[in-house]
């Protein structure tokens, strides 16, 4: 009797910690993005709400929660209501097997699944469903176009993404995230030539996966107003926002784990190493976003199928050949 209750309590605590971390991390990222973009544009960004605008995201979130929640007439109610949850919940579930390192000997990973990579890949591809449901349910042509685009985009970028991950898995010899990190104790994967290529592919495809410039065509502001979330307001919109930034964190955390040695690193505690690597990659994605223009929808597909997929296949074959040797 006592053991199940204890497990339940531990589960609840872990869940609360993870959820709290997600919320704080997303709010931090939103603030950080505004600061990064501001400094790229030689301005200051939020300054007047808290120290250097540190409370800006808090104010934004409270305000968004308070806003009127408009449900336009003519929406497909079920998919309209479910879409924001589909955008957020799978991303949150990914956190189950992201290794944050260890602190005082406690492994900071909710559950080290032995099929961790498979689980993550399965979950990240559910996100597209949320976007597509939002696009379809909104009963708005811009949203529909955005939803269609995202379906095409995410499905085609999933392939190079997975192939790049598989390269790392082959080198590590395991699907478990912890094992992959441990396999990089000596040398990070990214320092091997064909893993470096896999890393580049992963970052590009990952950027596409989280709909960020130059691959932000589902929400393409200058074409589709706000794409799939044109009609969403208030809290539902906040959930899409949360989903987007958490997704960005997840992709960067994955890249850090698979290629940059995860939480391993000298001197500093593992958690710090992990966060430095992850937020570094997130910042890199932001840097790209605030520099490059967007690609067109057919160029996007062409790039996925004509460049990324063949290159990642070739890379995989080379990796296999190296391992066989």
């Amino acid at each position: 009797m006592i053991i199940p209750v204890l497990t339940l309590i531990i589960m609840l605590i872990v869940g609360a910690v993870v959820l709290g971390f997600i919320a704080v991390s997303a709010m931090f990222l939103i603030w950080w993005e505004r600061k990064v973009s501001a400094h790229i544009q030689t301005r200051y960004g939020p300054m007047r709400v808290g120290w250097h605008g540190a409370l800006q995201s808090v104010a934004d979130v409270i305000k968004l929660l308070l806003k009127e929640n408009i449900t336009p007439s003519g929406v497909d109610r079920l998919s309209w209501w479910l879409a924001p949850f589909f955008a957020v919940v799978p991303v949150v579930m990914v956190f189950v097997c992201i290794p944050f390192g260890n602190i005082f000997g406690i492994e900071l990973i909710a559950r080290d699944l032995n099929i961790g990579i498979l689980y993550i890949m399965a979950l990240t591809s559910i996100c597209v469903l949320g976007i597509f449901m939002a696009g379809w349910g909104s009963n708005n042509k811009y949203s529909l176009l955005g939803g269609m685009r995202s379906a095409a985009q995410i499905v085609s970028y999933e392939i190079p993404l997975v192939l790049a991950m598989v390269t790392a898995v082959m080198f590590a010899g395991s699907l478990s995230m912890q094992k992959i990190v441990e396999a990089q104790k000596g040398l990070w994967f990214v320092f091997q030539p064909n893993m470096a290529i896999a890393f580049a592919i992963f970052i590009i495809a990952g950027t596409a996966e989280v709909n960020r410039t130059p691959f932000d065509i589902p929400e393409a502001e200058s074409e589709l107003v706000a794409g799939f979330h044109t009609e969403y307001s208030g809290m539902k919109f906040a959930m899409f926002f949360l989903g987007e930034y958490t997704n960005m964190f997840v992709i960067s955390a994955l890249a850090a784990t698979l290629f940059l040695g995860g939480w391993s690193g000298p001197f500093l505690p593992p958690v710090i190493w992990f966060l430095i690597k992850t937020y570094g990659l997130v910042t890199f994605m932001m840097w790209i976003r605030w520099t490059l223009p967007r690609v067109r929808v057919d160029q996007l597909m062409g790039f996925a199928w004509k460049v990324l997929t063949p290159v990642s296949f070739a890379n995989l074959i080379v990796a296999g050949w190296i391992l066989m040797k």
Partner: protein
Amino acid sequence: MDDTSLKEDIGTEEFWVNMGPQHPSTHGVLRLELKLSGETVVDGIVHIGYLHRSMEKIAENRTYTQFIPFTDRLDYLASMNNNLAYVLAVEKLMGIEVSDRAKYIRVIMAELGRIASHLFGITTFVQDLGAFATPLFYGMREREKIVELFDDVCGQRLTYNYMRVGGVSRDLPNGADGKIKGIIKYLRPKFDDLEALFNSNPIFTARTRGVGVLTASKAVNYGVTGPNLRASGVKWDLRKDEPYLCYDKFTFDIPVGNNGDAWDRYKVRMDEMRQSLRIAEQAVLGLPEGDPTVKAGRIFRPEPGETYMRSENPRGELGFYIVSDGSPIPFRMKIRSPSFSNIAVLPDLIRGLKIADAVCVLGSLDVVMGEIDR
């Protein structure tokens, strides 16, 4: 279920999408109706008039001097050039000769205005391509230097009301020529930076090359003028071909494109800014002495008659057709605005392109609604 009803159920159809008047990339309040088949534009209809402020009616109720502030608000990105075009038209009607210093000051102001306008035009174009805010803000940052100079010279940031019939409202303030030289020196490397951002960027080139090709004959037939016409390969610039003010005293080139696609329209603007710097530099160095100002209170009563004067604005040829009946207010004034003709060609250009390219073409035409609707 029989076959036909199934087909009806899952058949595809073309649909109309309404863009604007409130849309982030319609440059104000343009409204586009696009007939889409999937992502491809099948047909487009342009609706204008959402900013129709009845300038021509107002002109019939204002004296010649009173109308100058209204020209500021025509093409609000190049107010200085609009002022200039208008006062040139009135001067032609009245037969007034302008002092040399006034001419030089006008040239400097017009060319700086052209740079400010092109900076904004190019960077909003790149913003339409999806490079969110950064290029636009770089452009605005550079433009701010020019705007601050204008603020210094005439006291406003956007609506200058600087030119007067017969001269300019005030002489340059002390030290202004040094400031202008400073701006010229500041801007040159900044243009290089902008070019490094765009010119060789593979995404930018892929998005613009071969998109929205406007052939030379079509451009002429549609009455397209300015950088858009030159991008199509027609070497036509009023500053060279019908020199007004003292443009014949300066050496400068006219950049011309080859294909008339969005890339050429961008490139021509970029090169034109450098040429404008050249002109402004020569004008500052050769600034003659004298008094360029005129009295503001003078009331003009032109002989009954009419005139048509056009001058090279950043967006093309801005023409004023003024009919006078001998009274201090014009009998009829028609403003021939370049953007009006430039935007008319849009439905022809976007047919068969993707929706993202439609936005790209619209951005590359660089239109200003205040001028289209007047």
